[in-house]
């Protein structure tokens, strides 16, 4: 079997647009919150710059990672809209809710990325100044998102694989 090679990265709009659509759809249907995506741009530096990140891995035809990062106050308000009750940041229920939001954002985008891909179970990181490492050869694209509760970002470090 030939080794998988990166043939197209998240710099390509074909890999970005599904995530813009999915984040709008997830927050609209599950939380009644309207999201506006701003112009995507290449990530500069390593830190996410936010307090809370939900991380999910892709494998198969599309490989890499997707990180959805929120400032604490924004995450708390969006989670409250999602679960219909306030949850304290860092509690297991709060972490579960953030993970499920990220799971739905990634899962909803997956059918539109081309080929057969699988997603991992989500992980959630809470803290400040942390770095989410990614495949060094894959450029990362940031999709800035705005909501009535504040801004957050989706970080795409994914690439379509040849021979996968």
């Amino acid at each position: 079997m030939p080794q998988a090679q990166t043939i197209e990265s998240a710099v390509n709009p074909n890999l970005v647009t599904p995530f813009i659509n999915s984040v709008r759809d997830v927050f609209d249907k599950m939380a009644g919150v309207k999201i506006t995506a701003q112009e995507p741009h290449l990530k500069a530096g390593k830190s996410t710059g936010h307090d809370i990140s939900g991380i999910i891995g892709f494998s198969g035809a599309v490989a890499g990672s997707v990180v959805v990062s929120f400032p604490k106050a924004v995450a708390e308000r969006l989670v409250e809209a999602f679960v219909r009750m306030p949850l304290e940041c860092g509690t297991p229920d709060f972490v579960d809710a953030v993970g499920e939001l990220v799971n739905m954002i990634a899962g909803s985008a997956k059918p539109y990325l081309g080929g057969v891909a699988s997603i991992s179970l989500p992980s959630v990181v809470i803290g400040q100044g942390y770095t989410v490492a990614s495949m060094s050869s894959t450029p990362c694209v940031i999709i800035p998102c705005s909501s009535p509760h504040g801004d957050f970002a989706i970080e795409l470090c994914i690439a379509r694989q040849a021979g996968a």
Binding site: A97, G99, E100, M104, G107, S108, K110
Partner: protein
Amino acid sequence: MKILLIDDSKTMRNIQKAILTQLGHTDVLEASDGLDALSKVGAYQPNLILVDWNMPNMDGITFVKQYRAKGLKTAIIMVTTEAEKARIVEAITAGVNNYVVKPFTPDALSERIKETLSRVAAA
């Protein structure tokens, strides 16, 4: 009406449970993955099962296959982020009666539950 709700996310179980309550279904048992669910179905004997696909320990599709292998006919709705046609076909082939893709509106899930229950009642 006894309903078994299988999802590794407590958040999603709570959301679905709230929708079931609004529909008048309060006898709901929760399970956190397929393995947990298989250990509960014998004693609980549900009339309807809502099951997620991607879960640790035992995923939803494996649960459905093992549950159907026991000869059990209870209606099963898969509630999942897996939206590809191939996945839906795989689930139906395994014995799922209906399919709901996350994210969903409360109305969409309610309609699919009512539709499934009326199909089962008519059978």
